[in-house]
C-alpha cells in the first residue's frame, strides 16, 4: 500500500541513485524495495529510465570473457626474476641499522607505501673492512639517495676522513695519503633513476712503492642475473680495465660518461670497458633506470682476494 505522504526524491538525488543502483544490483533492503516500487508506480519516467538501464545491463550480462592468449602465461613466467626480491644474498648483514631512511613514494601501487631502504650499514662496514687491512689504500665514498622526480632527498651521508687503518664507522668515507676512491650513488624508484658514480683517483706507483690497491665493484640486481655492472680499477703497474656489462633488455643504461664530460656509452651497448693507466686519474659514471619496486643494486668491493658486498634495495 502506497504511503500517501510519500514523495519521490528528485531524480538526481542520492536516494534515487541508491535506489536505481540497488535495484539494478539486487541489493535493496525491503524498505528501499518498497520505495523503489512506489517510485516506479508513481512516475512513468522513472520506470522507463529504470527499464532502459536494465536493458543495458542485460547486454552486459551476455558479454563473455575473452580467453587469455595461450602463450601469455609462459610469457609472464619467463619475465619473472629468478628469485623473489625478498630472497637477499646470504652474505648480507642480518641486521639493518635503525636509522634506515624511508620515504613513501606517492602514486605507488600497493597496500602500503613503497619505501626506499638503504642497507647502509653494509656499505660502511665494507668500506671499513676494505680500509683496515691496508693502511696505504685510499678510499672515500659518498652516498646520496634522492628522488629525481620529486627532488626529495631521502637519505644522505657523505665524506669524512679517517686515519689509515681506522674503522670508518658511521660515515661513508675513508682516505689515506695515497689516493682515494669516491663512490656516489643515487637510487630512485618509479620515475627515478639510479646513478652510480665511482671515481678512482689513483696514486702514482712511483711515489708509493709497494702499494697495489685494487677496487672492483659489481652492481647487480640481486634477483635477476641478467643485469650486471662490473668495474675494476687498480694501480698495480698495469693498465686497469673498468668493465660494465648490462643486458639492455632488462636495464636501460642511460649513459656512461667519463668525468671529463665525454659520453662514452650509449643505451644500445651492453658492454663497455675503460682502461686506466697507472697513475692516471680516471673516473666514470653510468646511470640506468630501475622502474620496478623491488629493484635492488648490489655492489661488490673487492680488494685482491677479498670480496665484500653491499646492497641497496628499493621496495
Amino acid at each position: 500500500m502506497r504511503n500517501p505522504d510519500f514523495q519521490r526524491p528528485k531524480p538526481t538525488s542520492e536516494a534515487d541513485l541508491r535506489l536505481l543502483n540497488g535495484a539494478l544490483d539486487g541489493d535493496l533492503t525491503s524498505l528501499e524495495r518498497e520505495r523503489f516500487e512506489a517510485s516506479r508506480a508513481a512516475d512513468p519516467e522513472f520506470a522507463e529510465h529504470f527499464e532502459k538501464l536494465v536493458a543495458v545491463q542485460r547486454v552486459f550480462e551476455n558479454v563473455q570473457r575473452v580467453e587469455a592468449p595461450p602463450h601469455l602465461k609462459a610469457r609472464i613466467m619467463a619475465a619473472l626474476p629468478k628469485e623473489l626480491p625478498k630472497e637477499l644474498p646470504k652474505e648480507l648483514p642480518d641486521e639493518l641499522p635503525d636509522e634506515l631512511p624511508e620515504r613513501a613514494i606517492p602514486g605507488s601501487v600497493g597496500t602500503r607505501p613503497a619505501v626506499i631502504r638503504l642497507r647502509r650499514r653494509s656499505l660502511l662496514d665494507l668500506i671499513a673492512a676494505a680500509v683496515q687491512p691496508r693502511p696505504a689504500f685510499a678510499l672515500a665514498a659518498a652516498l646520496v639517495v634522492g628522488l629525481v622526480g620529486g627532488g626529495a632527498l631521502v637519505g644522505a651521508f657523505q665524506g669524512g676522513r679517517v686515519d689509515p687503518g681506522a674503522s670508518v664507522g658511521a660515515v661513508g668515507a675513508a682516505r689515506s695519503a695515497t689516493g682515494e676512491i669516491i663512490a656516489e650513488e643515487t637510487l630512485t624508484v618509479g620515475k627515478t633513476v639510479v646513478n652510480v658514480a665511482v671515481t678512482a683517483n689513483q696514486p702514482d706507483p712511483a711515489d708509493n712503492p709497494g702499494t697495489s690497491p685494487t677496487l672492483s665493484a659489481t652492481s647487480t640486481r640481486t634477483f635477476d642475473v641478467t643485469f650486471r655492472n662490473e668495474e675494476t680499477a687498480g694501480t698495480t703497474g698495469s693498465p686497469v680495465q673498468l668493465v660494465i656489462v648490462t643486458d639492455p633488455a632488462v636495464i636501460r643504461l642511460v649513459s656512461f660518461e667519463a668525468l671529463d664530460g665525454a659520453v662514452a656509452f650509449s643505451a644500445e651497448a651492453g658492454r663497455f670497458s675503460l682502461d686506466l693507466e697507472p697513475g692516471q686519474t680516471g673516473g666514470y659514471s653510468f646511470s640506468f633506470g630501475a622502474n620496478q619496486l623491488g629493484s635492488a643494486v648490489e655492489v661488490l668491493l673487492r680488494e685482491d682476494e677479498q670480496v665484500e658486498r653491499r646492497l641497496i634495495e628499493a621496495w
Partner: protein, 177 residues
C-alpha cells in the same frame, strides 16, 4: 600441486615457490587480461599490461595486506596499469577495429555494442563499469580497486550507466552511432 586457496598461494609465493606463482597466474590471467583488453582495446597492449601486472604482483607480494582479497589487489594493479597505459597513449580510439577474439558468433552484436559504448566512456568510468558489470565486484571492492570512497563509486557508476544507456540506445537506433 593441489588446488590452493589464495592465502595459501600467497604464503607459498612469498617463500619463492614459482609453481605457486604459476598457479596464481593460471587463476587470474584471464580476468586481468580481460580488464586490460576492455580498457585498452588493444590485444597486444593488454598482453603487455598483463605481463607488467604479474611482475608487479610477484615483486610486491610481500607488501600485500592479507586483509584484502588477493583478486581485488591484483585487479587494482591491473586497472591502474591499464589506465596508466591508456594515459600514456594519449589518444582516443573510435573502437571501430576492436578485435573479436574468441567470442561466440551469436553474441557478436552485443559485444560490438558494448565495446563501442565502453569506448565512449572516460577510462575511469569504463573501468568502474567493467568492474561492476563484467566482473561482478561489490561497491566495496570497486572502492578498494579504484581507491575511491563508496559514495564516489556509486555516483560514478550511476553516471556511467546513464551515459551507457544513452549510447547503447542511440546505437540501437543507429548502429553506426
Amino acid at each position: 600441486m593441489a588446488e590452493l586457496s589464495d592465502p595459501e598461494l600467497v604464503i607459498r609465493c612469498r617463500k619463492g615457490d614459482r609453481g605457486a606463482f604459476e598457479m596464481l597466474v593460471d587463476r587470474y590471467q584471464t580476468p586481468v587480461y580481460n580488464a586490460a583488453l576492455r580498457i585498452l582495446h588493444d590485444p597486444l597492449e593488454a598482453e603487455d599490461v598483463s605481463q607488467c601486472v604479474f611482475l608487479k604482483v610477484y615483486e610486491n607480494l610481500d607488501s600485500f595486506d592479507s586483509k584484502y582479497k588477493l583478486f581485488s589487489w591484483i585487479y587494482r594493479i591491473a586497472v591502474n596499469e591499464s589506465l596508466n597505459a591508456r594515459k600514456s597513449r594519449r589518444r582516443y580510439e573510435p573502437l571501430d577495429d576492436i578485435p573479436s577474439g574468441d567470442r561466440a558468433s551469436g553474441r557478436q552484436d552485443d559485444e560490438d555494442v558494448i565495446d563501442r559504448a565502453l569506448g565512449r566512456l572516460s577510462p575511469e568510468d569504463r573501468a568502474v563499469v567493467i568492474l561492476k558489470h563484467l566482473d561482478g565486484f561489490s561497491y566495496n571492492d570497486i572502492g578498494f580497486i579504484m581507491d575511491w570512497p563508496n559514495a564516489k563509486v556509486k555516483s560514478r557508476l550511476y553516471a556511467a550507466r546513464q551515459h551507457l544507456k544513452e549510447i547503447v540506445l542511440a546505437q540501437q537506433v543507429n548502429p553506426r552511432a
